[in-house]
């Protein structure tokens, strides 16, 4: 290690100290600055994150080539032989794509939907969701735990309020979520509009809004859970593994229940990813969903699983995750 210049004290007077006479920015600027820095730092520090984001972009390109090649075939329902309108194809494709972010096996489909089945078989659905989950864990697991292990919190707390620190961390994840989830799928929406052609944009507007709302909902849910795990340990590895297991294992259990033909009831609420997936159906007004195409679940009949339970469970997970972060930052890190 070279320290030759620091062994002399001559430098002390070499550079005089320049007083700051500028204007100090407000709290919002500071919040945006810390969020951006913490996100950029995650991007810069990990080669795996760059590779995974590159891979996701590549799958987008691949998927669109596939869609454009088979466009004409897709406009006919292979099961019924009926024609599908371009708007319907757009809706089926983009909704299945965004639902695929939180589904490894695509365990649910809307009952009686007019999908031609293309989306369920596409490379994206159930394929890239695992990579997105890994990416989420890689980015989020170190956001708070690294600060604890590096003891940088003391510097941050001497400059920021605790709530600004928390919002900054969520902000960093939010930037990541928008870059990796929302923006690509919004872009994909327009690519599909161009690729499929003859789309009535006014009719397609609710689909567009749902694309934004649902990807943001995924970002909020993931951020809440991953940051909660990050705040309770000083090791990013433990935080990442715990978050991954919490999301992945529960999802596998629910899927395996479906495959073994078991009755799927309220235990579904323990699976965050399935709850997220079902909330997409609820937000688009679907009342009956089919589990793996076999078991129908009516979400509004007052029996068993209901819409309010799903939305309540989702809100509960988000709230609990957020509360864990708040309690950790205010209580544990404050000592």
């Amino acid at each position: 290690m070279r320290e030759s210049n620091t062994n002399s004290t001559a430098y002390v007077r070499k550079f005089s100290f320049r007083p700051f006479e500028g204007f100090r920015r407000g709290r919002v600027y500071r919040l945006a600055a810390v969020s951006w820095y913490w996100w950029i730092h995650q991007w810069e520090r990990s080669r795996a994150i760059k590779i995974l984001i590159g891979f996701l972009l590549f799958t987008f390109v691949l998927m669109n080539m596939f869609i454009l090649t088979f466009r004409d075939l897709m406009l006919i329902n292979p099961y019924t032989g009926e024609a599908i309108s371009p708007n319907q194809l757009l809706e089926d494709t983009i909704l299945q794509m965004i639902r695929g972010i939180v589904s490894f096996g695509m365990t649910f489909t809307a009952s009686g939907d007019t999908s031609n089945g293309f989306s369920e078989a596409s490379f994206n659905v159930g394929g890239t969701s695992i990579f997105i989950l890994i990416l989420v864990v890689l980015v989020g697991s170190g956001l708070i735990s690294d600060d604890i292990s590096n003891q940088t919190t003391e510097i941050y707390y001497s400059k920021l309020e605790r709530h600004e620190y928390i919002l900054g961390k969520f902000g960093a994840f939010f930037i990541f979520g928008n870059i990796v989830l929302t923006l690509p799928y919004v872009f994909e929406f327009f690519l599909l509009v161009i690729g499929i052609g003859e789309i009535d944009l006014i009719t397609a507007l609710p689909v567009f809004v749902h694309t934004i709302v649902f990807t943001e909902l995924i970002t909020v849910t993931y951020s809440s859970i991953v940051l909660a795990f990050s705040s309770i340990t000083r090791r990013r590895l433990y935080a990442g593994l715990s978050a991954f297991m919490f999301l992945f294992v529960a999802n596998m259990i629910v899927t395996s229940l479906a495959f073994t033909g078991g009755e799927v009831g309220l235990e579904i609420l323990f699976d965050v990813l399935t709850v997220l997936l079902l909330s997409s159906y609820i937000l688009t007004g679907t009342t009956t969903v089919r589990l793996q195409g076999f078991y129908e679940v009516n979400l509004t009949d007052g029996v068993g699983l209901e819409s309010w339970m799903i939305l309540g469970a989702l809100g509960f997970y988000i709230l609990i995750g957020f509360l864990i972060v708040v309690v950790q930052v205010y209580w544990r890190h404050g000592k």
Binding site: T9, G26, V34, H41, D146, T152, E154
Partner: protein, 310 residues
């Protein structure tokens, strides 16, 4: 510049039932102030309370006229803080990026933060290393990065909590020199918290002694040391005990330290000693004055502490 930078009134912090600081009422003057006390005395708790990192249990404090309960963000923008913790920062980022990031947390624009980060790193002697990753920095270099972080937003007060911890002698000298120059050349108010008496003595003019969460003494270091125990040491060939008693009879404050009789200084002390020694027939082998140091003050305070204070 205000005459007093920090004013506290009954500032108290309890961690559950454990006392951090209790009823600290001080008026810290501008310039350099040493905050002295053994480990666990409450120095860091006091500093963290002033910065709003922890909330006081009771009491009030003002920093540069801003109340820490209601105007803590104004306080933070005016204080540069070098934490005690052996932080490893963000290991895989460069010093330049980290310091600039800290400047942005204090509200500096992107361009200004980069410029000032560069200036600050040059100022602390890390100009050449500013684009190196922090993971490759030695402990001494990391301490300087902390100083750059504290300086980058041009605060009026710089609080250094144990800034020489873990530094080798050269690094220690450099760090203290930097801190001293911040006071003398740049006109900053520096609060140096340390359990190392020499550090405080070398860098500040005013000292406060804290122990068990309470302020035990405060004042100008020269006055503290002068008032306490400036002595004259006397060594005699024989009759040490006789001389001791004879000096006591004359109303002088004396005690034995090893082979020497220590006599508390007064204007005619040497004359009195020679006169008394001549009267009892003691041969003086050595006589010389000994200036008391802050260490003497510190030791005497903690001897006194065995008896209840306040």
């Amino acid at each position: 510049m205000e005459a007093e930078t920090i004013i506290t009134e009954s500032l108290t912090k309890f961690y559950g039932k454990i006392r951090g600081i209790e009823d600290i009422t001080v008026r810290i003057p501008s310039g350099g102030v040493g905050f002295l006390g053994p480990n666990g005395a409450g120095k860091t708790t006091f500093i963290r309370t002033l910065l709003g990192i922890i909330r006081p249990t009771r009491g009030r404090a003002q920093v540069l006229g801003y109340d820490i309960r209601h105007e803590i963000n104004q306080v933070r923008d005016r204080i540069g803080y070098i934490p005690e913790f052996n932080t490893s920062f963000i290991p895989d980022t460069t010093a330049m990026k980290f310091v600039a990031f800290c400047a942005r947390m204090n509200g500096l624009s992107y361009a200004e933060s980069k410029q000032r980060a560069s200036d600050s790193l040059f100022y602390v002697g890390l100009g050449e290393e500013r684009y190196r990753k922090l993971a490759t920095f030695s402990l001494g270099m990391k301490q300087k990065v902390k100083l750059a972080v504290a300086l980058v937003h041009d605060p009026e007060i710089i609080i250094c909590d144990e800034p020489t911890n873990g530094l080798d002698p050269t690094g220690r000298v450099q760090m203290l020199e930097l801190i001293r120059s911040l006071q003398t050349d740049e006109g900053k108010n520096v609060i140096l918290s340390s359990h190392l008496l020499r550090d405080v003595e070398q860098t500040t003019d005013y000292a406060m002694v804290i122990s068990e969460g309470k302020i035990r003494a405060e004042g100008n270091i020269k006055e503290l040391t002068a008032n306490r125990r400036s002595t004259v040491s006397v060594k005699v060939k024989t009759k040490t005990e006789e001389l001791l008693h004879a000096l006591e009879k004359r109303g002088m404050e004396v005690w034995i330290e090893g082979a020497f009789i220590e006599v508390k200084t007064n204007p005619d002390v040497e004359k009195e000693i020679f006169k008394t020694a001549f009267q009892i027939g003691a041969d003086i082998r050595y006589i010389g004055s000994r200036s008391s140091t802050l260490e003497d003050v510190f030791v005497s305070l903690f001897k006194e502490q065995e008896a209840p204070i306040q």
